[in-house]
Amino acid sequence: MYLKHVIRFFLLILLQVIILNQVNLNGYIDPYLYLLFILLLPFETPRWLLLVMGFFTGSIIDIFSNTGGIHAAATTFMAFARPGVINLISKKSEFDTGSEPCITDMGSKWFYLYSLYLILLHHALLFTLEIFRFNKPVELIYRITLSALVTLMLVILSQYLFPKRPKK
């Protein structure tokens, strides 16, 4: 079922661009829920396609928020790291066919770790590129951590609000 992912892609982009980009919490926190799309791509996704999707998703966000490549760079990097992170945190090397990287299939602990690592990597590169100058390292770390936590919360919340339907 590719349709599910296509619909999810458009919904997440719209949600990000129209609502989340306008949200300003405390001046430091920017949640980037759109990367849920990359997180939830099936395990069988070819690795090259993962990279292309990452680049494409990031580029769309960049075009809409006039941020010139920083989302493309961060999301491509995140897509690159995804197979490694999966290997790192999974005990089994083989997954049941048709299983997806979501709470329903992989359990909550696995999913929290998986999301946390990838979101942190993404946000770290994103905010570093955005600030571009390293004169405020403390503020940078503060922004990365807070935004990553809020994004993580939204990602987890979305899993409970829209759980994957069990197969018939």
Partner: protein, 285 residues
Amino acid sequence: MQYLIAFLKRHTFFFLFLLLEGIALIWVVQHHNYQRSVVNQYTNQLTGSVYMLFNNASEYFKLVTINEELQQENAALRNILKSSVIINDTSTAKKQDTLSFMSMDSSYRQYYVYEPVKIIHNSIHKANNYIMINKGQKHGIEQDMGLMGADGIMGIVVSTSPHFSWAMSMLHSNVRISAMLKKNNQMGTVSWEGNDFKTGTLSDIPTHINVASGDTIITSGFSNIFPEGLLIGKVTQASVDKKQNNYDITFRFAEDFNALQYGYVIKNLYRKEQQNLIEESKITK
């Protein structure tokens, strides 16, 4: 050659990553260096249309506040009309209303023209913020025109497409605006340190000048972008930087960047002439 191809094939994932990441990073650097260029003029049309769609929907809920603001601004403008002022000069006493004042007075010459625009997209919490407006080249909007709201200046237009334009917000690390203190006409430079959307920085004011909190900061009119005397903000704190013999002044923006709705693009009708003059003087040096 065969080995090379085999090698590349084996590591496709890594090389594809390098390629895409490279493209993205080049994009980042380009964008950073040429923020005032027309790189995104092809995408403006798309993003503009999408923002326009959703802005129309959300605007409906803000109509009351918008109306009140416009009414207040109208009242303020009425107050400075010629007809609201008593002129004792006998030579101008005949001209009773503004229209005849404009058309008959030969010494009157239009210098700046204001184009009303709607803000359709805005951000305040990035390191570099942009504002998108609903007018572009077809309405005569060009790069380096100023953007102001009812309360104060907002930014500078950096790229245009036929129907939309992006402006660099005052909340942008590249913003440098020539400003002055209203009470004594002391010149300084306004910039933004990236801290929060309410406060900016005024630099280059020497320490022998008396600066107090509450002082008004206005545009100097020396930049060819903004006319003289537009409100920028009010000083909140002034401390002395001992190394440079200058003040470090933080001020509060007059415009609330979190609630931008309408604004005006400021067209300087003599900008080309002024720019040419500057160019010429550079060549002869």
